[in-house]
Symmetry: C2
Subunit: 677 residues, 2 copies
C-alpha cells in the first residue's frame, strides 16, 4: 500500500508543473500598452497587498490556534498537519491570485488584438492555474500528511489538523474577501455611477481599482479557498470514517480483501479518487483549449461534462483495481451527479423565469422586488435539499456513512476543472474593467462583455456547486465526528434528538448561521460607508479629477477596503472557531453533535436562500438594463437596482460565508473529538 | 381524581359566563351616531362574512381529515376529539371577532364623548372577551375530552385529536387572516395614500373597510387561534408525556404518591395549572379595569405582571395539594419567566436602538434599510433561542421531558390576560380608523392614536410571546411524539442524528418553513395586486368618488380580499398537514422525528427573524413619520416605507404562519404516532 500512497503527492507535483507551464503560456501573451500595464499593475499590487496583510493577520490568528493545539493532548502531529493545511490553502490562494491578476490584462489585450477565441484562451488558462493549484496543492499537502500519519491507526486522526488549517484560512479568505469585494463594489458604484454619473470602471473613479481588486479577492481567492477546504474536508472525513469502520462494513465494502488490507484501501480511496479527478481535469482543460475557437460556452460545457464523465469512468476501474465494491462507485456517481443537479437548479433560479418575475415585480416598486426576490431565494432551497437527501439516501443505503464521504469526494474530485471555469469569470470581468479604464473602445469591450456574461452563468453554477460541495463535505465530517467519538468512547455515542442536550445543541448551532449572516451583512454596510466617504472626499478635494486632468488616489481606497475587511472578519472568524469547543467542553459531545446538525441545516438553508436570491436580483437588474421593462433610467430599473444592492452582500459575502462556517465548525469538532470522550 | 377532573370544564363555563357579562357591559356603551354605526357595521359584516366563508371552506377541509381519522385505526374517539378541538377553536375565534367588531365603534364613541379612560376600558374589555373565550373554551373543550378519555390509559391518546382539530383551524385562521390583512393593507395604502394622495382610513378609499376588517381577521381571530392552539397543544403534550412516564420518574415527580395516583396527578396537572391561570387572568382583568383611570400603559402592565405573579404563587400551592414535587413548580416558573424575557427582547428589537439604526440607514436609500433590517431580524434570534435553551436545560434537569411540557403550560396558563392585552390593540386601531372615517376631529383621533400606540407595544410583546409559546408547545408535543413511539414500540425508538433517515428527515423538515414562507409572501403580493387593481378601477370608474359625492363599493374589496385569502391558504394548509404523514408513512417514524426537529429549528429561526425585522421596519417608518431624519415626504421616509412594505408580510403573514406550521406538523405527527410503530 505504502508505495501507492506516494502517487497522490507525486501527482500533486505533476499538477503544479502543468500549472507552471500554463503560467508561462499566459505570461507569453502580450500585456499591452504601458497605460494598460499601469492599470493592471495597480490591480495586481492591490490584490497582493491585501493577500499579504490578510496572511499576516491570519498568521497571528493561526499561531494562537497552533499553540493551543500544540500544548493540548493532540500534540505536535496535529500541529504539523494544521500548518500543512494552512500553508497549502494559503499557497493555492496566493498562486491563483498572482496569476489571475497577470491574466486579466493579457485577456484584455488578446480581445483587443486577436479576438474572442484568444481572449477566452487566456482567461480560461488563468482560471485553470487556480483550478490546478487548488487540486494539486490539496493532493500534495494532504498526500504528504497522509503518508506520514495515515498508515498507523493511532496517528491517523492527526490528519484532521490539515482540514482545520485549510478551513481557518478559508474562513478568513471568504469572509474577508467577501467584505472587501462588496464594500468596494457598492462604494464605487454608488458614488461613481449614481452621484457623479460616470460609467462603471471609469478611471476617474477612485474606487474602481479597489472594485477590480475585489473581484479577484472575493471570486478567485475566496472561492478557491472555499472549494479547497471542501475538497480536503471531504477526503479527510472519508479517511476518518474508513479508519473507524467495523469489520462487517469492511467485508461489505471491500469483499475480496482481509480486514487490514480492506481498511487501508478504503482509507486510501479518497486520495486515489482525487488523483483520478486531477488527471481528468487536466485532460478537460486541454479539451476546452482545443474547442475554444468555436463557441466558448460550448467549449466550457464540453470540458466540464467531459472531465466528469472521464472521472466517473476511471473511478469504476479504480474500484476494481483497489478491490472495492461497485456500491462505492455508485455513491461516487450519485455525488458527482448531485453536484451537477444543484448547479443547474442554481442556474435556473438565477437566470430563467424567476428572474423575469422579479424584474416585473419592479413595476410596483422596490418593496415588491424585495419580496419576490426573497420568495424566490426561499423557494430555491427545495430541490437542492431534496437532491442532498437523495444523495444521503442512496449513498448510505449502498455504503453506509462511508458512502456519504465518497459521494462528497466524487462531487469534488474534478475540482481542478470546476474551479478553472469558476475563476475564469472574475478574470474576464477584470479584463472588461481594464478595457474600459484603458479606453480600448466598443469592439474590445463587446468581446470582454460576452466573455463576462458567460462567466456569470458559470459563476452561478459554481456557487450552487460550492454550496452542495460544502454541505456534503460538512456532512461527511460530521459523520466522521460521530464515528470517532463512538469508537473512542467504546460504542455508546448516540445523538438522540429526544436528549435535551442534543436539542439544546441543535438550537445553539442553528442560531450561529443567523448571527454570522447578520454580522457580515452589517460589516459590508459599514465598510461600504467608509468607502463612500473616501470616494466622495476625493471627488470633492482633488481638483481636476472629474475633468481627467488629475489622478485619483486609488491606493487610499484599496487601503480602506483592505483595512475594513481585515478588521471585520475577526469577529465572525472567532465565533466560528470558538463555538464548537465552547459547546463541546461546556455542554459535552452530545450537545456539540446536536449543534453541528443545527448549524448544518441553518447554513445550507441560508446559503441557498442568500446566494440564489442575490444572483436572481443581480440578473433581474441586468435583464432590465438590456432594455426590458423600460430599461436603464426607468422606475423599474431604480427598483431592481435596490434588489441588486441588497443581493450583493447576500450572494458574495454572507451567503458564501455559510459554506465555510459549517465546515470550520465541523472540522474543529472533529479535531477536538478525541478530547471530548 | 375524577371529581377533580370536572373542575376545569366547570371553570371554563365560569369563564364564558364572565366573558358574556363583559360582553353586555361592552354592549351597554353608546355606539355613537348613525354614520359611525354604518361604518362599524360594514366592518362587522365584512369580518363575519370572512369568518363564515372561511369556516365553510374549513368545514370541507376538516371533513376530509375527519373521514380519514374515522376510517383509520384511530377510530371514532380521535374523530370526536378532533371535532371538539376544531369547534372550540372556531367558536373562540368567532366569539372574539364578533365582540371586537362591536367594541371598536364603542371605543371610538367613548373616546369622543367620555375621554381616554373610558375608551381604554371599552377596548380592553373587548380584548378581554377574546382572551377569556380562548382560555375558557380551551378548558371547557379539552376538559370534557379529558374527562371522557383521560382516565383510561388505552384511550388517553385520543385526546391528541383535540389538538389537531385546534391546529387545523388555527392554520387556516392564521394563514388566511394574514394574507387577508396584508393584501387589504398594502392595496389600500398604495392606491389611497401614494397614488391618490388621500389620508389613511379616508372613507373615499374603497379598500379602507377591507383594511379595517383585516385588522380583526389577522390580529384578533388569527392571533387568538394561534394562542389557542399553543395553549391546548402544550396541555395535550404534557398529558401525553405524563401518560408514558416510567415508574422511576413518577416517584421522582410525585414523591408521596403511588404509581397510578401519581400518574393521574401528573396527567391532570396541566389542566389544573390552566384553571389556576384562568382565575388569575380574570382577577388581572379586574385589576386593569380598576387602574385604567390612571395611566393606561401602567394599568396593562400591572394587570399582566399581577396575573402572572398570582398564577405562579397559586401554582406553588397547587403542587402541594396534588402531592407533586416542587421541581415541577420551578419548571413552571422558568417557563413563565422565559415567555416574559422573549417578549421583552422582541420589544427591544422593535422599538429601541435597532429601530433608530434602521431609520438612519434610510439616508443611503431603501437598499441599506433592507440590509440593516434583515441584519436586525437575524441578530434578534440569539437571545430568544438562548432563553429557550435555558428553559429546556432547567426544566429537563428538574423534571425530565415532563418539565418541558409544564414549562410550556406555565408560559401559556395566563393566556386569558395575555390575549386580552393582545386583542386590545386591533380594537384600538379600528377605533382610530372609525374616528377618521367618521370625521370625529383631531381630539378624538389623538385619544385613539395614543391607545393605538400602546397597542403596538403590547402587540410586539405579544408576538414574541406567541413565538416562544409556540416553540415550547411544539417542543413538548415533539417530546410526547418521541415518548409515545418509544412506549408503543417497546422502548427502542432513538432519533440518532447519525442515522441517515433522521438526517434526511431533518433536512426535509427544515425546508418546509422556507417553502411556506416563500408561498405566503408570494400570496400576499398577488392578493395585494388584485386589490390594487380593484381600488384603481373604482377610482377610475365611479364618478364623484374623489369629490365625496359618490360612495365606494367597499363590499367588492372585502370580497376580493376574502376570496384571495381563502384560495391562497389552501396550498400551505395542505403542505403542513400532508408532510408529516408523507414522511412518516413513506420514510418511517425516525425520519418523521428528524423532520420535526428540523422544522422546529427552521420555524423558530424564521419566525423570530421575520417578526422582528418586520416590527422594526414598521417602527422605523413611524420614527421617521414623527419628524425625525426629515420626516414625512423626505427621501429617508420613502426609503423606510419600502422597509415597512416588505415588513408587512414578514410580521403579519409569513412570520406568524411559522408558529402554526410547527405545531400542526407536531400534533399531526403525535396523532399518527400509534400507527407508525
Amino acid at each position: 500500500m505504502s508505495d501507492l500512497t506516494l502517487i497522490p503527492p507525486l501527482l500533486g507535483i505533476v499538477g503544479l508543473v502543468v500549472a507552471t507551464i500554463i503560467y508561462f503560456i499566459v505570461k507569453s501573451y502580450d500585456e499591452g500598452s504601458e497605460a494598460l500595464q499601469k492599470i493592471a499593475n495597480q490591480i495586481h499590487i492591490g490584490a497582493m497587498v491585501f493577500m499579504r496583510r490578510e496572511y499576516s493577520m491570519l498568521a497571528i490568528f493561526a499561531s494562537v490556534i497552533l499553540a493551543v493545539i500544540y500544548f493540548s493532548p493532540l500534540g505536535w502531529m496535529t500541529a504539523v498537519a494544521f500548518i500543512a493545511g494552512a500553508l497549502s490553502s494559503a499557497l493555492a490562494g496566493w498562486f491563483g491570485m498572482f496569476t489571475a491578476t497577470k491574466a486579466n490584462v493579457r485577456t484584455t489585450q488578446a480581445a483587443h488584438k486577436q479576438g474572442q477565441s484568444a481572449a477566452l484562451s487566456v482567461a480560461f488558462f488563468g482560471g485553470s492555474i487556480m483550478g490546478l493549484a487548488v487540486a494539486s496543492l490539496g493532493l500534495l499537502g494532504l498526500g504528504i500528511v497522509y503518508y506520514l500519519f495515515g498508515g498507523d491507526p493511532h496517528t491517523a486522526h492527526h490528519i484532521h489538523g490539515f482540514g482545520m488549517g485549510a478551513s481557518v484560512v478559508a474562513l478568513f479568505s471568504r469572509v474577508g474577501g467577501g467584505i472587501y469585494t462588496k464594500s468596494a463594489d457598492v462604494g464605487a458604484d454608488l458614488v461613481g455611477k449614481l452621484e457623479q454619473g460616470i460609467p462603471e470602471d471609469d478611471p476617474r473613479n477612485p474606487g474602481v481599482i479597489a472594485d477590480n481588486v475585489g473581484d479577484n479577492v472575493g471570486d478567485v481567492a475566496g472561492m478557491g479557498s472555499d472549494i479547497f477546504e471542501s475538497y480536503c474536508g471531504s477526503m479527510i472525513a472519508t479517511i476518518a470514517i474508513a479508519s473507524t469502520l467495523a469489520l462487517a462494513s469492511i467485508t461489505n465494502l471491500a469483499p475480496g480483501l482481509a480486514e487490514e488490507e480492506g481498511r487501508a484501501s478504503l482509507m486510501f480511496l479518497p486520495l486515489a479518487l482525487a488523483s483520478t479527478g486531477l488527471i481528468a481535469s487536466i485532460i478537460g482543460i486541454g479539451v476546452v483549449r482545443s474547442f475554444s475557437g468555436a463557441n466558448p460556452a460550448v467549449a466550457l460545457r464540453i470540458g466540464m461534462i467531459g472531465s466528469t464523465v472521464l472521472f466517473i469512468a476511471a473511478a469504476y476501474f479504480l474500484m476494481d483495481a483497489l478491490g472495492l465494491s461497485v456500491n462505492i462507485w455508485w455513491s461516487v456517481l450519485f455525488g458527482a451527479a448531485g453536484g451537477i443537479v444543484i448547479g443547474l437548479i442554481t442556474e435556473y433560479y438565477t437566470s430563467s423565469r424567476p428572474v423575469v418575475k422579479i424584474a416585473e415585480s419592479g413595476k410596483t416598486g422596490p418593496a415588491t422586488v424585495m419580496i419576490t426576490g426573497l420568495a424566490v431565494g426561499m423557494e430555491s432551497v427545495v430541490v437542492p435539499i431534496l437532491t442532498i437527501c437523495a444523495i444521503i439516501y442512496v449513498s448510505t443505503t449502498l455504503a453506509g456513512l462511508y458512502g456519504v464521504g465518497v459521494a462528497a469526494v466524487g462531487l469534488l474530485a474534478t475540482v481542478g476543472m470546476t474551479m478553472a471555469v469558476d475563476a475564469y469569470g472574475p478574470i474576464a470581468d477584470n479584463a472588461g474593467g481594464i478595457a474600459e479604464m484603458g479606453g480600448l473602445g466598443e469592439e474590445t469591450r463587446a468581446i470582454t462583455d460576452s466573455l463576462d456574461e458567460l462567466g456569470n452563468t458559470t459563476a452561478a453554477m459554481g456557487k450552487g456547486f460550492a454550496i452542495g460541495a460544502a454541505a456534503l463535505a460538512a456532512l461527511a465530517i460530521i459523520a466522521a465526528f460521530v464515528e470517532t467519538i463512538t469508537v473512542e468512547s467504546g460504542g455508546d455515542f448516540v445523538l438522540h434528538l429526544g436528549n435535551p442536550k442534543v436539542l439544546i445543541g441543535m438550537f445553539l448551532g442553528g442560531l450561529v448561521p443567523f448571527l454570522i449572516a447578520s454580522i457580515t451583512m452589517t460589516s459590508v454596510g459599514e465598510a461600504a460607508m467608509a468607502m463612500i466617504q473616501e470616494i466622495r472626499r476625493q471627488f470633492r478635494e482633488i481638483p481636476g479629477l472629474m475633468e481627467g486632468t488629475a489622478e485619483p488616489d486609488n491606493a487610499k481606497c484599496v487601503d480602506i477596503a483592505t483595512t475594513a475587511a481585515l478588521r471585520k472578519m475577526l469577529l465572525p472568524g472567532f465565533i466560528a472557531v470558538a463555538v464548537p469547543p465552547a459547546i463541546g467542553f461546556g455542554l459535552g459531545a452530545q450537545a456539540l453533535g446536536g449543534a453541528l446538525g443545527g448549524a448544518l441545516l441553518g447554513c445550507v438553508l441560508l446559503a441557498l436562500t442568500m446566494a440564489n436570491a442575490g444572483g436572481a436580483w443581480d440578473n433581474a437588474k441586468k435583464y432590465v438594463e438590456k432594455g426590458n421593462l423600460g430599461g436603464k433610467g426607468s422606475d423599474v430599473h431604480a427598483a431592481v437596482v435596490v434588489g441588486d444592492t441588497v443581493g450583493d452582500p447576500f450572494k458574495d459575502t454572507s451567503g458564501p460565508s455559510m459554506n465555510i462556517l459549517i465546515n470550520v465548525m465541523a472540522i474543529v469538532s472533529l479535531v477536538i473529538a478525541p478530547l471530548l470522550v
